[in-house]
């Protein structure tokens, strides 16, 4: 089933790209050596709120499976036992579901913040957490604009829990468990093709979608993309975030560090030299 899906997506991608851009990108799609970030596209119009993705995710990662009925309007967050959640919202277009998980940013704040490289942006795209490096400082939690990483506060050997796009499965040729289990709403593929597919859907059904892909630009672009029928702030998502990368906010500071390290000692030595003759004064002749 996995292989079929991949061929399906590839065909979809080629068609979509051809339609939207009119250029032949087929060569690039078939080329396995192209380093492109992989991502996921989630379509709220196709999500029925069955929560199978939650169940499969919990099973895959040894987390407790929550048997909960989705209540409309109740905002659940991902937690240290749930890497992803589906919430249902009452909106102007009826009940709409929204999936919340790690956004797998192109320039993740968590990975830039991590001083041990425990949070790591892989070259395939997913942002993963590596337990052997993590010291549990929780700086990733402070830095993440989406408040994604969750910490096991009540464990003596605490882990950070967040979606890792089933990285182990991807590396061995598979796709994330949620994308595999989901009927229609969640697809996995290379980011550029997913964006193209999203644009195609929006272009073909303008009444069903808001003309925006959440994740195309936010935080400098993310791997998890979301399209839906209503404005995203109605779906519990934060639309006040900046559209540039978050690590770039520390650029000014970190860039000046080596320069300060060179200039400040020099200036201090200089002042020390210049004030040398102030040494002998009457206070000392005691």
């Amino acid at each position: 089933m996995g292989i079929d899906r991949r061929i399906f997506i590839k065909t979809l991608g080629v068609t979509g790209v051809t339609l939207v851009t009119g250029t032949m990108l087929g060569a690039e799609v078939a080329d396995d050596e192209a380093i492109e970030f992989q991502g996921m596209l989630y379509d709220s119009t196709r999500c029925v709120g069955c929560r199978l993705c939650e169940v499969v995710c919990a099973e895959t990662h040894n987390l407790p499976v929550l048997k909960v009925k989705l209540k409309t309007g109740v905002l659940r967050k991902n937690s240290e036992t749930q890497r992803t959640v589906i919430n249902k919202f009452a909106t102007s277009k009826g009940d709409v579901s929204a999936k919340k998980q790690c956004m797998h940013c192109n320039e993740p704040a968590c990975a830039a913040a991590c001083l041990t490289q425990a949070m790591h942006k892989t070259k395939e795209g997913p942002v993963i957490w590596r337990s052997e490096k993590c010291m549990g400082c929780r700086f990733c939690m402070v830095s993440c604009p989406f408040d994604v990483p969750k910490f096991e506060y009540h464990s003596a050997n605490p882990k950070i829990q967040k979606c890792d796009m089933c990285y182990d499965r991807i590396v061995s040729g598979g796709i994330p468990a949620c994308a595999e289990a989901c009927g229609d709403a969640l697809i996995f593929g290379s980011r550029s093709l997913l964006i193209a597919e999203a644009r195609r859907r929006i272009a073909e059904n303008p009444k069903d979608y808001v003309d925006q892909i959440y994740g195309e630009y936010v935080a400098g672009g993310t791997g998890f993309l979301h399209i839906g029928p209503v404005p995203f702030n109605e779906l519990g998502m934060n639309t006040g975030l900046q559209n540039s990368s978050y690590p770039a906010l520390t650029k000014g500071f970190l860039y000046s560090v080596p320069a300060v390290f060179v200039l400040l000692p020099s200036v201090l030595l200089g002042i020390h030299e210049a004030t040398k003759n102030n040494q002998t004064n009457d206070e000392e002749l005691e």
């Binding site: 990975a111 942006k121 550029s192 690590p247 060179v262 030595l269 002998t280 002749l285």
Partner: protein
């Protein structure tokens, strides 16, 4: 396409920090070497330099006696005694031989010590009366301290004075000291020109620069007779009873 990796903007940070470490480690030898050269050049210049009132160190808070010794009373009541900068610039590098020891009593004008350069000596007489408490042992091993730092590290004796006020009442302090030392310098020039007949043209060059200014360490290369003359006529101190 999205091909860049996330740490794109911080990629070179690791190498930059290594460069910083290299800089800091190289800075120390760099700085030390830079200063060393300057110090030696300065010393040479000073050695061949000019002795003027401006090159003298004249701390304002101590008493100067007419034979160019100084006395400074500390809060503990103990007086430090030493030689002033002018005398030491005139004599050049000297060794210090202490003739009195701790626990001995000394009177003002009594022989306290000798300074000597290549066999030529000057006798030093005490500016105050009292009991000697300490002698500066450091000067035995590091005689250059006397010339380098005559008022602080180059102190000669620590004395507990018995008649401080009476004995220092005629000494120079503060602006009086500055004025007096300036005049002493002129008097020294007169003293030398009065002895002009003794000097060969080469010796004359030793003591007077082209501009008519004195060279530093004026007496150091001059013969012993000049030192004797200096003791008797300039310092004017062979007979203790003559001076206040």
């Amino acid at each position: 396409m999205d091909v860049f990796s996330y740490n794109n903007i911080f990629e070179t940070k690791g190498i930059e920090y290594l460069v910083v470490i290299a800089f800091l480690m190289l800075l120390i030898p760099f700085w030390i070497t830079l200063n060393k050269k300057v110090k030696i050049a300065g010393q040479i210049r000073q050695a061949a330099g000019i002795l003027t009132a401006r090159t003298l160190k004249i701390p304002q808070g101590i008493f100067y006696s007419r034979n160019h010794t100084w006395a400074h009373l500390e809060m503990s009541g103990i007086a430090n005694v030493g030689l002033d900068d002018l005398l030491l610039h005139i004599t050049g590098d000297v060794r210090f031989n202490h003739l009195k020891n701790p626990k001995e009593k000394i009177k003002k004008g009594e022989l306290l010590a000798e300074i000597e350069h290549n066999g030529k000596t000057l006798r030093i007489f005490s500016p105050v009366s009292g009991e000697i408490l300490d002698i500066n042992e450091v000067l035995t091993d590091n005689p250059e301290l006397l010339n380098e730092d005559p008022y602080l590290k180059g102190w000669m004796y620590k004395v507990r004075p018995t008649r401080w006020i009476a004995e220092t009442s005629t000494y120079f302090i503060a602006e009086d000291a500055t004025n007096w030392l300036g005049k002493e310098l002129e008097r020294f020039k007169d003293f030398l020109s009065g002895r002009a007949g003794f000097f060969s043209p080469e010796s004359a060059r030793l003591i007077l620069q082209d501009g008519g200014e004195l060279t530093d360490h004026t007496l150091s290369d001059l013969p012993a007779e000049v030192w004797q003359n200096f003791q008797e006529d300039f310092l004017n101190h062979t007979d203790p009873s003559k001076h206040a």
